[in-house]
Symmetry: C2
Subunit: 136 residues, 2 copies
DNA sequence: ATAGGTGCAAAGCATTTGCAGCAGC
DNA sequence: GCTGCTGCAAATGCTTTGCACCTAT
């Protein structure tokens, strides 16, 4: 299970394990800095650059989902094995994972119709979750 | 026609006119810096901060579309009067404006199903346009 | 005349990078 | 012991801000 995760790099280090562990214990998208902070609070000292480098490697290896928030900060989350999208609370960041075969199909069809190749897409839905709606 | 554009701020200045003009003459998404560069090449001197401030104001007024690129840079484009999405060439930035009523519906429905309120969504499709595909 | 706008330079942030030291293998 | 990994600090790149000057009204 941790097997596939350690598919990045050639060595298993305390730092990488810590970052991956942190990802595994969290459902929502978090930035490098947030992950770094959490580790620090847990008493685990890992350099910020190492966190960045690790997340980057994981993203390249396809082990994590990356989305760029409206403010330009990149946030990461371990992803399930297949493509999906998210419904995110803009206040508390609660995240619901969505599957949308019909939208996938639509995206590829539309792109193909216009002669585009090698397509990818970004679909994110933002809103207020039930709790935050009530909290108003 | 320029009327609605001048809806930001209280004064009509050379600089704002220049930025809006530049937007009107371009179909694709461009960053503040790119717009600033273009104006400079046209011999129009406008401070970079002014470009940023103007685009920000336009975005707040809903006059332009903003999307955050994968690298975290914000890019702007005058938007038509209604909600829509984009198919963008990741190499040359050619942009096709899309309308997708079915996807709109899907997004709102999915959000509502999970009890989310006040929802918005981001849908961008990236790929290589026909020209750039051929250029390989 | 008088606020709102502008421009510069400095500050802020997230992220990347160079390099010397450290540690898996 | 070699090589990859780490961590610091400095650098980078986009964006924001403070502040004095300018200018449309």
């Amino acid at each position: 299970m941790t097997k596939s995760i350690s598919s990045i790099g050639q060595r298993s280090t305390r730092q990488r394990t810590a970052v991956v562990d942190s990802l595994q214990r969290n459902e929502d998208f978090r930035s490098s800095q947030e992950i770094h902070d959490q580790l620090r609070h847990e008493g685990i000292s890992v350099g910020l650059s190492t966190v960045y480098r690790t997340l980057q490697a994981l993203a390249e290896a396809g082990e994590v989902d990356v989305i760029v928030r409206d403010d330009g900060e990149s946030v990461y989350r371990l992803c399930s094995e297949h493509h999906h999208h998210h419904l995110v609370c803009r206040r508390c960041r609660t995240t619901v994972e969505l599957e949308a075969p019909s939208v996938e199909t639509w995206a590829h069809k539309v792109a193909a119709d216009h002669g585009f190749t090698d397509t990818t897409h970004t679909i994110e839905i933002w809103g207020l979750c039930p709790d935050c709606t009530t909290a108003d």
